[in-house]
């Protein structure tokens, strides 16, 4: 994403209520996730009372008697970092695949996109689970890689579609007639014109990443079983859903709000792109 695209998008924010709302929600949750650990009334592994009671701060305690509110505040950082990195990875790999396919055209395009379709046929989470069950204690980078690569084929389809509409335009032909290198044609002529739709795709992919990373946590493939993590918290506390619902509801609500925020943001950008960004 170039800085210019971001800047021009920011200028239009005032006239884009959907995008503005999404952006504000996303930023608020992100800020909570980042500075949360310092605001938490208790430590993330501090026992403040009996399990599943309303002791501790306002949201009560979890299965070990740790403070739910403190763990919510502390548990966003990892999910945020993992999903943002995974999204970035997926976007980069996907864009490269898609743009190369679109610009190359012909049989290379066919070959790349058919392989891509094969990758697409796998349900996203399945591939991740396959690998994660094989390892004992997954490292954070592993989750980033798995989620990232599972996004790539989806991003590639979108990127190729957008790029196809651009590589056939005369300014690209003009650059080719001048004898510009292929790399420069892609970087200087094609990519800058893909900003808006790709930004929208990134927002959407971030939504999915959050869901997937939380899902992986929920299924118990946590990098650090003791640490606070929104996905993992749902798993830890689900037994007492009827007794102390906050242990589950609190992380569910933040994840929900976060995904709604990123999705609104993606929608807003897509709307903006639909109207053309000059």
């Amino acid at each position: 994403m170039s800085l210019m695209g971001v800047a021009s998008t920011t200028r239009r924010l005032g006239r884009q209520p959907r995008l503005a709302t999404g952006l504000v929600i996303t930023l608020v949750i992100a800020v909570i996730a980042i500075v949360g650990p310092w605001l938490a009334p208790y430590g993330e592994n501090e026992i403040v009372g009996k399990p599943f009671t309303l002791e501790g701060s306002w949201l009560g305690t979890d299965y070990l008697g740790q403070d739910v509110w403190s763990r919510v505040l502390a548990g966003g950082g990892s999910i945020l970092l993992t999903s943002v990195s995974a999204t970035a990875l997926g976007m980069v790999v996907g864009i490269v695949i898609g743009v190369v396919a679109a610009y190359a055209g012909g049989w290379l395009d066919e070959a790349i996109m058919r392989l891509n379709d094969v990758a697409l046929a796998f349900p996203q989470i399945l591939l991740a689970l396959l690998v994660l069950t094989a390892v004992d204690q997954p490292a954070a980078w592993m989750i980033v890689l798995l989620v990232g690569f599972s996004h790539a084929p989806r991003v590639a389809r979108v990127a190729r579609g957008v790029a196809l509409g651009i590589v056939s335009r005369d300014f690209v032909h003009s650059a080719e007639a001048l004898g510009e290198s292929r790399l420069r044609v892609v970087v200087a002529e094609v990519l800058p014109n893909m900003n808006a739709p790709l930004l929208a795709e990134a927002g959407l992919r971030l939504t999915y990443s959050i869901g997937m990373v939380a899902g992986i946590g929920f299924l118990g493939f946590a990098t650090d079983p003791g640490a606070a993590d929104w996905g993992q918290m749902i798993n830890e506390n689900r037994l007492a859903l009827l007794v102390q619902p906050w242990g589950v509801l609190a992380p569910v609500i933040v994840i929900g709000i976060f995904t709604v925020g990123t999705n609104l943001m993606a929608d807003g950008i897509a709307q903006l792109a639909g109207r053309g960004t000059g």
Partner: protein, 592 residues
């Protein structure tokens, strides 16, 4: 103005403004349409001609509103009617033919069904009568009326056929008034000629009062009885066709006529400086004053009223009668001398071009000399653009020999040497697509210099300023992106980019066809100047024969991928040998 009750219609003091502002799109439009008469409404883009045209249907596009005015039709004011009252009149009594009829026909319904449906909607006749009516309508516009044709879908018709179906549908309910909005734009001259003749015949035989909205003066010169010229939302001159084309009174009309090429003689075309101001940016006083060569102080202050010039002829100019008479021959220049020595720079021999397995150009030979303009002329599908793309290195599927300055040219741009890529520059038809919207003008124009090592950094920027000056653009545009420029300005940037490489051959693919005539005039003048001062050769691809006369020395006429005639412009146009060339010349609309 006088109106016979029940005949034609009279539009008086029409004002259409942008919703919620006092910015007018068109204002003070007075025009009378008489039965059996075609009035040509001519204007450049942004003049408000389409807005004025659709106002005759009591309609203003989204974002605009009819603020004032009356349209007296059959004794009633259509503009004062409610939506429910206007509806039965639209299409029935006042019909409309859109610019792109392909978009107006439903692609999923057969032609016959669509026509019958129209009659059903208006509750005309029984089922059999409607079908018979549909057949009769198609016959009238010269289309087949058999079941096979009625069963076709719109995509199975050619552009001209679709346009004639639209005409048939417009005429079927026997309207009294017909508004045609550039109905032949995008059609080849032969097809356009047919559509225009059909339209004119139908208007006369059914005594329809027609308003023909167009940007093309040449078309109007062939079909209109009276001509109204619009500029910046006003009708600035209105008069009978013969008078308008021989004794135009308004400086704008004169400038427009100076900008259009003639088939019969070569002219030094001139453009009008600046561009047509859009709504909200129009100057006070006479709206043309900032571009007018006869401007005086009073033009800036007072808005001119209609001045009667002659019978049925008015002009909105305070200086009518003071600015002398206009002579159609003013811009004439001599045709290029066929006996001049030619120093050949580009030779094309036995060129065959294909797209996949289809061969579209079958063995074409021609050459281009130094500082010479050679035109490639043909209708759509003739292969003229394909040939130019091969020479420009944009299409590689060809066989034959293309020799540039003594060396055989490689097929695609990547198969050519840096030197060859630098010396041959290609300019595209549509300046809205050929410039990267993400880059600034300075970046776009400087790039070929950086790439070919001509200049970089500060020096490149200085050269960009020089080049922009050469194409009549100021340094203020340097750091703008292209979306801030008009079509003509964009095309100038594209030309500047081509010049930045210091080329010897410019391949120009229909570079003026997306532009207004006044802009075309100035681009042609610019190219002529570049040819003379820099000795640049040009391969000029166009469908406009009249333009060829004014710009080129030699012409190659193409039909279906084959060269049917070639030679010096003066010889080919004055004494065409091939039947196709004769037909093309015969169908080309021309003002004189």
């Amino acid at each position: 103005m006088t109106t016979v009750a029940g005949a034609g219609c009279t539009l008086t003091d029409l004002r259409v403004a942008l919703t919620g502002s006092d910015v007018d799109v068109v204002d003070e439009i007075d025009i009378e349409l008489r039965p059996g008469e075609v009035v040509g409404l001519v204007g450049e883009s942004g003049s408000g001609k389409t807005t004025a045209g659709t106002a005759l249907l009591g309609y203003a596009r989204h974002g605009a509103v009819i603020e004032r005015g009356s349209l007296v039709f059959e004794g009633q004011d259509v503009l004062a009617m409610s939506w429910e009252q206007v509806r039965p009149i639209r299409g029935m009594k006042i019909a409309y033919v859109p610019q792109d009829p392909g978009a107006a026909l439903n692609p999923a319904i057969r032609i016959g069904r669509q026509i019958v449906e129209l009659l059903e909607l208006h509750g005309i006749g029984t089922a059999e009568e409607r079908l018979a009516g549909a057949r009769a309508g198609l016959r009238e516009v010269g289309l087949p009326d058999d079941d096979e044709f009625l069963a076709r879908y719109p995509h199975q018709l050619s552009g001209g056929q679709v346009q004639r179906v639209a005409l048939a549908m417009a005429f079927l309910p026997r309207p009294k008034v017909l508004v045609l909005d550039e109905p032949t734009t995008g059609l080849d001259v032969t097809t356009q000629g047919m559509v225009l003749r059909t339209m004119a015949e139908l208007c006369r035989s059914y005594q329809v009062a027609a308003l023909y909205v167009t940007h093309d003066l040449a078309v109007v010169a062939n079909i209109a009885d009276r001509v109204a010229v619009m500029y910046a939302g006003r009708i600035i001159e209105l008069g009978p066709r013969e008078v308008m084309f021989s004794q135009p009174a308004h400086p704008y009309t004169r400038a427009l006529l100076d900008a259009i090429p003639h088939l019969a003689r070569a002219r030094a075309l001139t453009g009008i400086p600046g561009s047509t101001p859009g709504p909200g940016r129009r100057p006070s006083g006479c709206r043309f004053h900032d571009r007018c060569e006869y401007v005086q102080d009073r033009c800036r202050e007072t808005e001119p009223r209609d001045v009667r010039v002659g019978q049925d002829h008015t002009a909105k100019c305070v200086r009518v009668g003071e600015i002398g008479s206009w002579d159609i021959n003013r811009g004439n220049v001599a045709d290029t001398d066929p006996h001049k020595e030619r120093d050949i720079i580009l030779t094309v021999e036995d060129l065959h071009v294909s797209y996949g397995r289809t061969e579209v150009v079958h063995g074409v030979d021609f050459d281009v000399a130094r500082a010479e303009v050679v035109a490639l002329v043909g209708e759509s599908g003739s292969g003229k653009t394909t040939i130019s793309r091969c020479i420009g290195g944009l299409h590689g599927e060809w066989t034959g020999a293309v020799t540039f300055d003594g060396r055989a040219l490689g097929k695609g741009a990547r198969a050519r040497s840096v030197e060859e890529r630098k010396r041959i520059q290609y300019i595209f038809q549509n300046p809205y697509l050929s410039l990267n919207p993400r880059l600034t003008i300075a970046q776009i124009v400087a790039r070929p210099m950086e790439l070919f090592g001509i200049a970089r950094g500060r020096a490149a920027r200085d050269k960009v300023v020089e080049l922009l000056e050469a194409v009549a653009l100021g340094p203020t545009v340097l750091d703008l992106r292209t979306d801030r420029l008009s079509g003509g300005e964009r095309q100038r940037v594209a030309i500047a980019r081509a010049l930045a490489a210091e080329p010897d051959l410019l391949v120009c693919d229909e570079i003026t066809s997306a532009l207004d005539v006044s802009v075309q005039g100035s681009i042609v003048a610019l190219l002529e100047d570049l040819r003379k001062t820099r000795g640049i050769s040009m391969l000029f691809v166009t469908h406009n024969l009249a333009l060829v006369r004014s710009i080129a020395a030699r012409v190659q006429v193409l039909s279906a991928g084959e060269l049917v005639e070639s030679g010096f412009v003066v010889e080919v146009l004055d004494s065409p040998r091939h039947e196709y060339t004769r037909q093309l010349i015969g169908n080309s609309p021309t003002v004189a």
